[in-house]
Symmetry: C2
Subunit: 305 residues, 2 copies
Protein backbone atom coordinates (compact mmCIF):
# COMPACT_ATOMS: atom_id res chain seq x y z
CA UNK A 1 0.00 0.00 0.00
CA UNK A 2 2.69 2.50 0.92
CA UNK A 3 5.05 1.63 -1.94
CA UNK A 4 4.39 4.36 -4.50
CA UNK A 5 3.33 7.07 -2.10
CA UNK A 6 5.93 6.16 0.45
CA UNK A 7 8.52 6.94 -2.22
CA UNK A 8 7.40 10.56 -2.33
CA UNK A 9 8.74 10.96 1.20
CA UNK A 10 11.57 8.44 0.99
CA UNK A 11 14.38 10.93 0.58
CA UNK A 12 13.16 13.36 3.22
CA UNK A 13 15.36 13.82 6.29
CA UNK A 14 12.61 14.75 8.74
CA UNK A 15 14.97 15.90 11.47
CA UNK A 16 16.56 18.37 9.06
CA UNK A 17 13.18 19.48 7.68
CA UNK A 18 11.72 19.99 11.15
CA UNK A 19 14.83 21.85 12.26
CA UNK A 20 14.59 24.27 9.32
CA UNK A 21 10.84 24.76 9.83
CA UNK A 22 11.40 25.30 13.54
CA UNK A 23 14.08 27.93 12.92
CA UNK A 24 11.84 29.83 10.52
CA UNK A 25 8.82 29.89 12.81
CA UNK A 26 10.92 30.84 15.83
CA UNK A 27 12.22 33.83 13.92
CA UNK A 28 8.63 34.85 13.22
CA UNK A 29 7.65 34.30 16.88
CA UNK A 30 10.63 36.44 17.90
CA UNK A 31 9.28 39.30 15.78
CA UNK A 32 5.67 38.86 16.88
CA UNK A 33 6.30 38.37 20.61
CA UNK A 34 9.30 40.57 21.42
CA UNK A 35 10.63 41.37 24.89
CA UNK A 36 9.48 44.62 26.48
CA UNK A 37 11.11 47.15 28.79
CA UNK A 38 7.67 48.41 29.92
CA UNK A 39 6.44 48.31 33.52
CA UNK A 40 4.56 45.13 32.61
CA UNK A 41 7.54 43.55 30.80
CA UNK A 42 7.32 40.55 33.14
CA UNK A 43 4.31 39.29 31.18
CA UNK A 44 6.33 39.39 27.96
CA UNK A 45 9.20 37.61 29.73
CA UNK A 46 6.89 34.81 30.89
CA UNK A 47 5.31 34.47 27.44
CA UNK A 48 8.76 34.21 25.87
CA UNK A 49 10.02 31.80 28.52
CA UNK A 50 7.15 29.46 27.67
CA UNK A 51 7.38 30.03 23.90
CA UNK A 52 11.10 29.60 23.42
CA UNK A 53 11.53 26.32 25.24
CA UNK A 54 12.42 24.19 22.25
CA UNK A 55 9.89 21.65 21.13
CA UNK A 56 9.42 20.12 17.72
CA UNK A 57 7.22 22.93 16.34
CA UNK A 58 5.21 20.21 14.63
CA UNK A 59 2.10 22.38 14.27
CA UNK A 60 3.77 25.25 12.37
CA UNK A 61 5.43 22.59 10.20
CA UNK A 62 1.96 21.22 9.32
CA UNK A 63 0.72 24.70 8.43
CA UNK A 64 3.71 25.48 6.20
CA UNK A 65 3.68 22.11 4.47
CA UNK A 66 -0.05 22.10 3.83
CA UNK A 67 0.24 25.69 2.57
CA UNK A 68 2.94 24.57 0.15
CA UNK A 69 0.44 22.21 -1.53
CA UNK A 70 -1.61 25.25 -2.51
CA UNK A 71 1.28 27.54 -3.46
CA UNK A 72 0.68 29.89 -0.52
CA UNK A 73 3.28 32.59 0.09
CA UNK A 74 5.49 31.09 2.85
CA UNK A 75 5.45 34.26 5.01
CA UNK A 76 1.68 33.90 5.45
CA UNK A 77 1.96 30.30 6.59
CA UNK A 78 4.72 31.31 8.98
CA UNK A 79 2.42 33.85 10.68
CA UNK A 80 -0.31 31.25 11.05
CA UNK A 81 2.31 28.82 12.36
CA UNK A 82 3.49 31.36 14.93
CA UNK A 83 -0.11 31.96 16.00
CA UNK A 84 -0.79 28.25 16.44
CA UNK A 85 2.43 27.85 18.42
CA UNK A 86 1.34 30.68 20.75
CA UNK A 87 -1.98 28.93 21.23
CA UNK A 88 -0.40 25.50 21.74
CA UNK A 89 2.04 26.98 24.26
CA UNK A 90 -0.78 28.63 26.24
CA UNK A 91 -2.45 25.23 26.55
CA UNK A 92 0.78 23.71 27.91
CA UNK A 93 1.29 26.56 30.42
CA UNK A 94 -2.24 26.20 31.79
CA UNK A 95 -2.12 22.37 31.73
CA UNK A 96 1.03 22.42 33.84
CA UNK A 97 -0.57 24.55 36.61
CA UNK A 98 -0.85 23.03 40.10
CA UNK A 99 -4.66 22.86 39.82
CA UNK A 100 -4.37 20.96 36.53
CA UNK A 101 -1.53 18.44 35.92
CA UNK A 102 0.77 20.04 38.53
CA UNK A 103 3.94 19.55 36.49
CA UNK A 104 7.27 20.95 37.64
CA UNK A 105 9.16 20.15 34.47
CA UNK A 106 8.46 20.69 30.80
CA UNK A 107 11.05 19.81 28.18
CA UNK A 108 13.63 19.33 30.90
CA UNK A 109 13.32 22.75 32.57
CA UNK A 110 11.01 24.33 35.17
CA UNK A 111 7.44 24.94 34.00
CA UNK A 112 6.36 28.58 33.66
CA UNK A 113 4.62 28.73 37.05
CA UNK A 114 7.78 27.30 38.66
CA UNK A 115 10.11 29.71 36.87
CA UNK A 116 7.81 32.71 37.58
CA UNK A 117 4.74 32.17 39.77
CA UNK A 118 1.24 30.81 39.34
CA UNK A 119 -0.49 34.13 38.73
CA UNK A 120 2.06 35.13 36.10
CA UNK A 121 1.67 31.73 34.41
CA UNK A 122 -2.12 32.12 34.27
CA UNK A 123 -1.73 35.60 32.76
CA UNK A 124 1.02 34.56 30.33
CA UNK A 125 -1.20 31.73 29.09
CA UNK A 126 -4.10 34.13 28.66
CA UNK A 127 -1.85 36.55 26.74
CA UNK A 128 -0.51 33.79 24.46
CA UNK A 129 -4.07 32.73 23.62
CA UNK A 130 -5.05 36.33 22.93
CA UNK A 131 -2.07 37.13 20.73
CA UNK A 132 -2.78 34.09 18.56
CA UNK A 133 -6.01 35.74 17.40
CA UNK A 134 -4.33 39.13 17.08
CA UNK A 135 -1.79 37.62 14.68
CA UNK A 136 -4.38 35.82 12.57
CA UNK A 137 -6.65 38.87 12.22
CA UNK A 138 -3.87 41.25 11.16
CA UNK A 139 -3.48 42.23 7.52
CA UNK A 140 -0.07 40.60 6.79
CA UNK A 141 -1.59 37.14 7.41
CA UNK A 142 -3.59 37.35 4.18
CA UNK A 143 -4.75 40.24 1.99
CA UNK A 144 -8.32 38.88 1.95
CA UNK A 145 -10.00 39.64 5.32
CA UNK A 146 -12.49 36.84 4.61
CA UNK A 147 -9.61 34.36 4.79
CA UNK A 148 -8.38 35.91 8.04
CA UNK A 149 -11.84 35.77 9.61
CA UNK A 150 -12.19 32.15 8.62
CA UNK A 151 -8.83 31.34 10.25
CA UNK A 152 -9.90 33.12 13.46
CA UNK A 153 -13.23 31.34 13.55
CA UNK A 154 -11.76 27.90 12.78
CA UNK A 155 -9.01 28.28 15.36
CA UNK A 156 -11.48 29.47 18.01
CA UNK A 157 -13.67 26.45 17.34
CA UNK A 158 -10.73 24.01 17.32
CA UNK A 159 -9.32 25.43 20.55
CA UNK A 160 -12.56 26.19 22.36
CA UNK A 161 -15.29 24.67 24.49
CA UNK A 162 -16.14 21.93 21.95
CA UNK A 163 -12.54 21.40 20.87
CA UNK A 164 -9.29 21.45 22.82
CA UNK A 165 -10.72 22.92 26.05
CA UNK A 166 -13.67 20.50 25.96
CA UNK A 167 -11.12 17.70 25.55
CA UNK A 168 -9.23 18.92 28.61
CA UNK A 169 -12.49 18.82 30.55
CA UNK A 170 -13.16 15.25 29.40
CA UNK A 171 -9.59 14.33 30.31
CA UNK A 172 -10.25 15.46 33.88
CA UNK A 173 -13.35 13.27 34.00
CA UNK A 174 -11.34 10.35 32.59
CA UNK A 175 -9.49 10.07 35.88
CA UNK A 176 -12.80 9.41 37.66
CA UNK A 177 -14.13 6.47 35.66
CA UNK A 178 -12.91 3.92 33.12
CA UNK A 179 -13.22 5.15 29.54
CA UNK A 180 -13.74 2.89 26.55
CA UNK A 181 -11.78 3.15 23.30
CA UNK A 182 -14.50 5.23 21.58
CA UNK A 183 -14.49 7.77 24.40
CA UNK A 184 -10.69 7.93 24.34
CA UNK A 185 -10.67 8.52 20.58
CA UNK A 186 -13.26 11.29 21.04
CA UNK A 187 -11.17 12.76 23.85
CA UNK A 188 -8.04 12.71 21.71
CA UNK A 189 -9.94 14.15 18.75
CA UNK A 190 -11.04 17.11 20.89
CA UNK A 191 -7.94 17.57 23.01
CA UNK A 192 -5.21 17.41 20.37
CA UNK A 193 -6.86 16.37 17.10
CA UNK A 194 -8.86 19.54 16.55
CA UNK A 195 -5.71 21.65 16.59
CA UNK A 196 -3.92 19.31 14.17
CA UNK A 197 -6.93 19.67 11.88
CA UNK A 198 -6.70 23.41 12.07
CA UNK A 199 -3.01 23.31 11.15
CA UNK A 200 -3.50 21.15 8.05
CA UNK A 201 -6.66 22.90 6.83
CA UNK A 202 -5.11 26.34 7.47
CA UNK A 203 -2.84 25.78 4.48
CA UNK A 204 -5.85 25.02 2.30
CA UNK A 205 -7.76 28.03 3.66
CA UNK A 206 -4.77 30.33 3.04
CA UNK A 207 -4.63 28.93 -0.50
CA UNK A 208 -8.39 29.38 -0.93
CA UNK A 209 -8.56 25.73 -1.97
CA UNK A 210 -11.73 23.85 -2.94
CA UNK A 211 -13.87 22.41 -0.10
CA UNK A 212 -12.96 18.83 -1.06
CA UNK A 213 -9.29 19.66 -0.67
CA UNK A 214 -9.94 21.15 2.76
CA UNK A 215 -11.71 17.89 3.66
CA UNK A 216 -8.81 15.80 2.35
CA UNK A 217 -6.34 17.72 4.49
CA UNK A 218 -8.68 17.43 7.48
CA UNK A 219 -8.75 13.65 7.09
CA UNK A 220 -4.96 13.53 6.84
CA UNK A 221 -4.81 15.62 10.03
CA UNK A 222 -7.14 13.18 11.85
CA UNK A 223 -4.83 10.30 10.97
CA UNK A 224 -1.75 12.23 12.06
CA UNK A 225 -3.41 13.34 15.29
CA UNK A 226 -4.29 9.79 16.25
CA UNK A 227 -0.84 8.51 15.32
CA UNK A 228 0.65 11.26 17.45
CA UNK A 229 -1.54 10.28 20.40
CA UNK A 230 -0.80 6.56 20.08
CA UNK A 231 2.94 7.12 19.80
CA UNK A 232 2.75 9.53 22.77
CA UNK A 233 1.01 6.83 24.81
CA UNK A 234 3.57 4.27 23.66
CA UNK A 235 6.36 6.60 24.81
CA UNK A 236 4.62 7.01 28.15
CA UNK A 237 4.69 3.23 28.58
CA UNK A 238 7.98 2.32 26.97
CA UNK A 239 10.38 5.26 27.16
CA UNK A 240 12.51 6.62 29.97
CA UNK A 241 12.14 10.14 31.36
CA UNK A 242 15.66 10.83 30.12
CA UNK A 243 14.82 10.03 26.49
CA UNK A 244 11.35 11.61 26.52
CA UNK A 245 12.52 14.78 28.30
CA UNK A 246 9.52 14.64 30.62
CA UNK A 247 7.99 12.42 33.29
CA UNK A 248 6.74 9.08 31.92
CA UNK A 249 4.36 6.41 33.21
CA UNK A 250 2.00 9.20 34.29
CA UNK A 251 -1.16 7.82 32.70
CA UNK A 252 -0.81 4.48 34.46
CA UNK A 253 0.00 6.23 37.73
CA UNK A 254 -3.11 8.40 37.33
CA UNK A 255 -5.18 5.29 36.57
CA UNK A 256 -6.11 6.68 33.14
CA UNK A 257 -7.01 4.34 30.32
CA UNK A 258 -5.20 5.00 27.03
CA UNK A 259 -5.55 3.35 23.63
CA UNK A 260 -2.32 1.50 24.41
CA UNK A 261 -3.59 0.26 27.78
CA UNK A 262 -6.87 -0.86 26.15
CA UNK A 263 -5.50 -2.39 22.96
CA UNK A 264 -2.03 -3.43 24.10
CA UNK A 265 1.30 -2.24 22.69
CA UNK A 266 1.34 -4.41 19.57
CA UNK A 267 -2.21 -3.73 18.42
CA UNK A 268 -1.74 0.01 19.07
CA UNK A 269 1.39 0.00 16.96
CA UNK A 270 -0.41 -1.91 14.16
CA UNK A 271 -3.27 0.60 14.25
CA UNK A 272 -0.80 3.49 14.03
CA UNK A 273 0.85 1.86 11.02
CA UNK A 274 -2.51 1.46 9.27
CA UNK A 275 -3.31 5.12 9.95
CA UNK A 276 0.06 6.07 8.48
CA UNK A 277 -0.69 4.12 5.27
CA UNK A 278 -4.07 5.84 5.02
CA UNK A 279 -2.60 9.29 5.60
CA UNK A 280 0.05 8.74 2.93
CA UNK A 281 -2.56 7.50 0.44
CA UNK A 282 -4.54 10.72 0.89
CA UNK A 283 -1.59 12.79 -0.30
CA UNK A 284 -1.12 10.90 -3.58
CA UNK A 285 -2.68 13.71 -5.72
CA UNK A 286 -0.02 16.17 -4.59
CA UNK A 287 2.96 14.07 -5.71
CA UNK A 288 6.38 15.15 -4.54
CA UNK A 289 5.09 18.53 -3.32
CA UNK A 290 3.77 16.53 -0.39
CA UNK A 291 7.06 14.73 0.28
CA UNK A 292 7.45 16.10 3.80
CA UNK A 293 3.84 15.41 4.77
CA UNK A 294 4.24 11.90 3.39
CA UNK A 295 7.39 11.36 5.45
CA UNK A 296 5.79 12.62 8.68
CA UNK A 297 3.69 9.60 9.75
CA UNK A 298 6.63 7.22 9.50
CA UNK A 299 8.76 9.68 11.41
CA UNK A 300 6.15 9.77 14.17
CA UNK A 301 6.03 5.99 14.33
CA UNK A 302 9.77 5.93 14.98
CA UNK A 303 9.93 8.82 17.46
CA UNK A 304 11.55 8.48 20.87
CA UNK A 305 10.55 11.85 22.39
CA UNK B 1 -20.43 73.47 30.99
CA UNK B 2 -22.88 70.62 31.29
CA UNK B 3 -26.03 72.70 30.86
CA UNK B 4 -26.95 72.20 27.22
CA UNK B 5 -25.42 68.78 26.78
CA UNK B 6 -26.54 67.58 30.15
CA UNK B 7 -30.08 68.20 28.94
CA UNK B 8 -29.66 65.55 26.25
CA UNK B 9 -29.48 62.94 28.98
CA UNK B 10 -31.78 64.63 31.51
CA UNK B 11 -34.83 62.47 30.89
CA UNK B 12 -32.95 59.17 30.75
CA UNK B 13 -33.76 56.63 33.46
CA UNK B 14 -30.43 54.86 33.46
CA UNK B 15 -31.58 51.97 35.63
CA UNK B 16 -34.34 51.22 33.12
CA UNK B 17 -32.05 51.68 30.13
CA UNK B 18 -29.36 49.42 31.61
CA UNK B 19 -31.98 46.82 32.52
CA UNK B 20 -33.32 46.72 28.96
CA UNK B 21 -29.82 46.58 27.47
CA UNK B 22 -28.88 43.84 29.92
CA UNK B 23 -31.94 41.75 29.01
CA UNK B 24 -31.17 42.05 25.30
CA UNK B 25 -27.52 41.05 25.60
CA UNK B 26 -28.31 38.19 27.97
CA UNK B 27 -30.71 36.79 25.39
CA UNK B 28 -27.91 36.94 22.84
CA UNK B 29 -25.44 35.31 25.27
CA UNK B 30 -28.01 32.57 25.91
CA UNK B 31 -28.09 31.80 22.19
CA UNK B 32 -24.32 32.01 21.72
CA UNK B 33 -23.29 30.07 24.85
CA UNK B 34 -26.00 27.42 25.31
CA UNK B 35 -25.89 24.52 27.75
CA UNK B 36 -24.68 21.17 26.43
CA UNK B 37 -25.56 17.55 27.17
CA UNK B 38 -22.19 16.39 25.78
CA UNK B 39 -19.60 14.50 27.79
CA UNK B 40 -17.80 17.81 28.31
CA UNK B 41 -20.99 19.71 29.24
CA UNK B 42 -19.40 20.72 32.55
CA UNK B 43 -17.31 23.32 30.72
CA UNK B 44 -20.47 24.88 29.28
CA UNK B 45 -22.05 24.79 32.74
CA UNK B 46 -19.09 26.63 34.27
CA UNK B 47 -19.03 29.20 31.46
CA UNK B 48 -22.74 29.85 31.96
CA UNK B 49 -22.45 29.95 35.74
CA UNK B 50 -19.87 32.73 35.38
CA UNK B 51 -21.69 34.50 32.56
CA UNK B 52 -25.19 34.58 34.01
CA UNK B 53 -24.35 36.00 37.41
CA UNK B 54 -26.06 39.33 37.00
CA UNK B 55 -23.88 42.39 36.72
CA UNK B 56 -24.62 45.69 35.07
CA UNK B 57 -23.61 44.63 31.53
CA UNK B 58 -22.11 48.09 31.18
CA UNK B 59 -19.77 47.07 28.38
CA UNK B 60 -22.47 45.70 26.02
CA UNK B 61 -24.45 48.84 26.81
CA UNK B 62 -21.50 50.96 25.62
CA UNK B 63 -21.26 48.94 22.41
CA UNK B 64 -24.97 49.22 21.62
CA UNK B 65 -25.18 52.92 22.44
CA UNK B 66 -22.07 53.86 20.49
CA UNK B 67 -23.37 51.73 17.58
CA UNK B 68 -26.62 53.69 17.70
CA UNK B 69 -24.73 56.91 16.95
CA UNK B 70 -23.72 55.41 13.59
CA UNK B 71 -27.05 53.76 12.76
CA UNK B 72 -25.65 50.24 13.13
CA UNK B 73 -28.15 47.38 12.99
CA UNK B 74 -28.77 46.56 16.68
CA UNK B 75 -28.31 42.78 16.25
CA UNK B 76 -24.69 43.35 15.22
CA UNK B 77 -23.95 45.47 18.27
CA UNK B 78 -25.58 42.81 20.46
CA UNK B 79 -23.20 40.15 19.15
CA UNK B 80 -20.20 42.36 19.85
CA UNK B 81 -21.69 43.11 23.28
CA UNK B 82 -22.06 39.40 24.00
CA UNK B 83 -18.46 38.82 22.91
CA UNK B 84 -17.14 41.56 25.16
CA UNK B 85 -19.17 40.22 28.07
CA UNK B 86 -17.63 36.75 27.53
CA UNK B 87 -14.20 38.34 27.55
CA UNK B 88 -14.92 40.50 30.61
CA UNK B 89 -16.30 37.46 32.45
CA UNK B 90 -13.19 35.40 31.66
CA UNK B 91 -11.06 38.13 33.24
CA UNK B 92 -13.19 38.01 36.41
CA UNK B 93 -13.03 34.20 36.63
CA UNK B 94 -9.24 34.18 36.33
CA UNK B 95 -8.83 37.21 38.65
CA UNK B 96 -10.81 35.44 41.36
CA UNK B 97 -8.54 32.35 41.33
CA UNK B 98 -6.64 31.47 44.52
CA UNK B 99 -3.31 32.34 42.87
CA UNK B 100 -4.64 35.77 41.86
CA UNK B 101 -7.06 37.70 44.13
CA UNK B 102 -8.30 34.55 45.91
CA UNK B 103 -11.92 35.69 46.10
CA UNK B 104 -14.65 33.40 47.40
CA UNK B 105 -17.55 35.68 46.50
CA UNK B 106 -18.49 37.54 43.33
CA UNK B 107 -21.78 39.42 43.16
CA UNK B 108 -22.90 37.78 46.37
CA UNK B 109 -22.42 34.15 45.34
CA UNK B 110 -19.52 31.69 45.22
CA UNK B 111 -16.88 32.43 42.59
CA UNK B 112 -16.56 29.93 39.72
CA UNK B 113 -13.64 28.02 41.25
CA UNK B 114 -15.61 27.73 44.50
CA UNK B 115 -18.81 26.56 42.77
CA UNK B 116 -16.87 24.12 40.52
CA UNK B 117 -13.15 23.66 41.08
CA UNK B 118 -9.96 25.51 40.19
CA UNK B 119 -9.14 23.52 37.06
CA UNK B 120 -12.66 23.96 35.68
CA UNK B 121 -12.49 27.69 36.41
CA UNK B 122 -9.20 28.03 34.52
CA UNK B 123 -10.67 26.14 31.56
CA UNK B 124 -13.99 28.01 31.64
CA UNK B 125 -12.09 31.30 31.59
CA UNK B 126 -10.00 30.10 28.66
CA UNK B 127 -13.17 29.03 26.82
CA UNK B 128 -14.91 32.37 27.44
CA UNK B 129 -11.88 34.22 26.06
CA UNK B 130 -11.81 31.95 23.01
CA UNK B 131 -15.53 32.19 22.24
CA UNK B 132 -15.32 35.99 22.28
CA UNK B 133 -13.13 35.86 19.18
CA UNK B 134 -15.27 33.14 17.60
CA UNK B 135 -18.33 35.40 17.90
CA UNK B 136 -16.58 38.47 16.47
CA UNK B 137 -15.14 36.61 13.47
CA UNK B 138 -18.42 34.96 12.45
CA UNK B 139 -20.41 36.33 9.52
CA UNK B 140 -23.54 37.55 11.40
CA UNK B 141 -21.41 40.10 13.28
CA UNK B 142 -20.97 42.18 10.13
CA UNK B 143 -21.25 41.38 6.41
CA UNK B 144 -17.85 42.99 5.74
CA UNK B 145 -15.07 40.64 6.91
CA UNK B 146 -12.71 43.62 7.07
CA UNK B 147 -14.87 45.04 9.87
CA UNK B 148 -14.88 41.70 11.68
CA UNK B 149 -11.09 41.36 11.42
CA UNK B 150 -10.66 44.86 12.78
CA UNK B 151 -12.87 44.02 15.76
CA UNK B 152 -10.87 40.85 16.45
CA UNK B 153 -7.58 42.69 16.21
CA UNK B 154 -8.72 45.64 18.35
CA UNK B 155 -10.18 43.38 21.03
CA UNK B 156 -7.05 41.22 21.12
CA UNK B 157 -4.91 44.32 21.57
CA UNK B 158 -7.20 45.83 24.23
CA UNK B 159 -7.37 42.56 26.18
CA UNK B 160 -3.81 41.34 25.63
CA UNK B 161 -0.26 41.67 26.88
CA UNK B 162 -0.13 45.47 26.46
CA UNK B 163 -3.76 46.01 27.51
CA UNK B 164 -5.87 44.32 30.15
CA UNK B 165 -3.48 41.45 30.90
CA UNK B 166 -0.53 43.84 31.09
CA UNK B 167 -2.59 45.90 33.53
CA UNK B 168 -3.21 42.84 35.68
CA UNK B 169 0.55 42.23 35.72
CA UNK B 170 1.20 45.83 36.79
CA UNK B 171 -1.49 45.48 39.45
CA UNK B 172 0.39 42.54 40.96
CA UNK B 173 3.55 44.65 41.07
CA UNK B 174 1.58 47.50 42.68
CA UNK B 175 1.28 45.46 45.87
CA UNK B 176 5.07 45.42 46.13
CA UNK B 177 5.89 49.12 45.98
CA UNK B 178 4.12 52.49 46.27
CA UNK B 179 2.77 53.71 42.95
CA UNK B 180 2.34 57.36 42.04
CA UNK B 181 -0.80 58.81 40.46
CA UNK B 182 0.65 58.61 36.93
CA UNK B 183 1.42 54.93 37.34
CA UNK B 184 -2.04 54.26 38.74
CA UNK B 185 -3.69 56.06 35.83
CA UNK B 186 -1.55 53.99 33.42
CA UNK B 187 -2.49 50.83 35.32
CA UNK B 188 -6.20 51.69 35.15
CA UNK B 189 -5.90 52.60 31.48
CA UNK B 190 -4.45 49.16 30.72
CA UNK B 191 -6.44 47.08 33.17
CA UNK B 192 -9.95 48.37 32.56
CA UNK B 193 -9.68 51.41 30.27
CA UNK B 194 -8.56 49.54 27.16
CA UNK B 195 -11.68 47.37 27.20
CA UNK B 196 -13.95 50.41 27.69
CA UNK B 197 -12.23 51.95 24.67
CA UNK B 198 -12.89 48.84 22.64
CA UNK B 199 -16.58 48.96 23.57
CA UNK B 200 -17.09 52.58 22.55
CA UNK B 201 -15.01 52.40 19.38
CA UNK B 202 -16.64 49.09 18.36
CA UNK B 203 -19.83 50.99 17.59
CA UNK B 204 -17.91 53.35 15.32
CA UNK B 205 -16.06 50.44 13.67
CA UNK B 206 -19.34 48.57 13.07
CA UNK B 207 -20.71 51.78 11.54
CA UNK B 208 -17.57 52.24 9.43
CA UNK B 209 -17.32 55.75 10.85
CA UNK B 210 -14.60 58.26 9.99
CA UNK B 211 -11.29 58.02 11.93
CA UNK B 212 -11.98 61.28 13.80
CA UNK B 213 -15.26 59.85 15.09
CA UNK B 214 -13.46 56.70 16.27
CA UNK B 215 -11.04 58.98 18.11
CA UNK B 216 -13.89 60.99 19.66
CA UNK B 217 -15.50 57.82 21.00
CA UNK B 218 -12.12 56.63 22.26
CA UNK B 219 -11.68 59.84 24.24
CA UNK B 220 -15.17 59.52 25.69
CA UNK B 221 -14.30 55.94 26.71
CA UNK B 222 -11.11 57.12 28.45
CA UNK B 223 -13.13 59.57 30.52
CA UNK B 224 -15.73 56.94 31.37
CA UNK B 225 -13.09 54.37 32.26
CA UNK B 226 -11.38 56.71 34.68
CA UNK B 227 -14.70 57.78 36.23
CA UNK B 228 -15.57 54.10 36.65
CA UNK B 229 -12.23 53.43 38.39
CA UNK B 230 -12.49 56.45 40.69
CA UNK B 231 -16.07 55.63 41.70
CA UNK B 232 -15.02 51.99 42.21
CA UNK B 233 -12.23 53.14 44.52
CA UNK B 234 -14.65 55.47 46.32
CA UNK B 235 -17.02 52.54 46.86
CA UNK B 236 -14.14 50.47 48.21
CA UNK B 237 -13.48 53.19 50.79
CA UNK B 238 -16.99 54.39 51.58
CA UNK B 239 -19.49 51.61 50.93
CA UNK B 240 -20.44 48.55 52.91
CA UNK B 241 -20.08 45.00 51.60
CA UNK B 242 -23.84 44.73 51.77
CA UNK B 243 -24.46 47.65 49.42
CA UNK B 244 -21.54 46.90 47.09
CA UNK B 245 -22.32 43.19 46.88
CA UNK B 246 -18.66 42.31 47.35
CA UNK B 247 -15.86 42.66 49.86
CA UNK B 248 -14.81 46.31 50.43
CA UNK B 249 -11.75 47.99 51.94
CA UNK B 250 -9.59 45.49 50.04
CA UNK B 251 -7.19 47.99 48.48
CA UNK B 252 -6.30 49.50 51.84
CA UNK B 253 -5.95 46.04 53.37
CA UNK B 254 -3.64 45.04 50.52
CA UNK B 255 -1.62 48.23 51.01
CA UNK B 256 -2.38 49.32 47.43
CA UNK B 257 -2.38 53.00 46.52
CA UNK B 258 -5.45 54.16 44.60
CA UNK B 259 -6.31 57.53 43.10
CA UNK B 260 -8.60 58.05 46.08
CA UNK B 261 -5.91 57.21 48.64
CA UNK B 262 -3.46 59.53 46.84
CA UNK B 263 -5.77 62.45 46.14
CA UNK B 264 -8.29 62.11 48.97
CA UNK B 265 -12.03 61.50 48.65
CA UNK B 266 -13.04 65.09 47.83
CA UNK B 267 -10.39 65.75 45.17
CA UNK B 268 -11.10 62.36 43.56
CA UNK B 269 -14.78 63.17 43.39
CA UNK B 270 -14.03 66.60 41.89
CA UNK B 271 -11.79 64.99 39.26
CA UNK B 272 -14.52 62.50 38.38
CA UNK B 273 -17.01 65.34 37.98
CA UNK B 274 -14.64 67.19 35.63
CA UNK B 275 -14.17 64.03 33.58
CA UNK B 276 -17.96 63.66 33.37
CA UNK B 277 -18.31 67.22 32.03
CA UNK B 278 -15.62 66.52 29.43
CA UNK B 279 -17.21 63.23 28.36
CA UNK B 280 -20.61 64.88 27.92
CA UNK B 281 -19.10 67.74 25.91
CA UNK B 282 -17.58 65.23 23.47
CA UNK B 283 -21.04 63.89 22.60
CA UNK B 284 -22.53 67.27 21.66
CA UNK B 285 -22.40 66.57 17.88
CA UNK B 286 -24.70 63.56 18.27
CA UNK B 287 -27.56 65.45 19.96
CA UNK B 288 -30.31 63.39 21.54
CA UNK B 289 -29.13 60.19 19.83
CA UNK B 290 -26.43 60.21 22.51
CA UNK B 291 -28.88 60.74 25.40
CA UNK B 292 -27.98 57.48 27.16
CA UNK B 293 -24.23 57.98 26.73
CA UNK B 294 -24.67 61.51 28.07
CA UNK B 295 -26.57 60.24 31.10
CA UNK B 296 -23.99 57.55 31.91
CA UNK B 297 -21.22 59.58 33.60
CA UNK B 298 -23.63 61.19 36.07
CA UNK B 299 -25.11 57.79 36.78
CA UNK B 300 -21.64 56.45 37.54
CA UNK B 301 -20.92 59.37 39.89
CA UNK B 302 -24.02 58.47 41.89
CA UNK B 303 -23.59 54.69 41.94
CA UNK B 304 -23.59 52.68 45.15
CA UNK B 305 -22.56 49.28 43.72
Amino acid sequence: MTGVNGDAGASVDMLEVLKAASGAVEGEMERLVPASEALHGRIHDAMRYALFAGGKRLRPFLVSQSAKLFAVEPSRALRVGAAIECLHTYSLVHDDLPCMDDDDLRRGRPTTHRAFDEATAVLAGDALLTVAFEILAAEPTHPDPGVRCRLVEELAKAAGRDGMIGGQMVDMLAAQRAFGADEIVLLQQMKTGALFEFCCTAGAILGQARPDEVTRLRTYARDIGLIFQITDDLLDVLSTADKAGKAVGKDAAAGKATLVSLWGVDAARTKATELADHAIELLRPYGTTAAELVALPKFLLARES
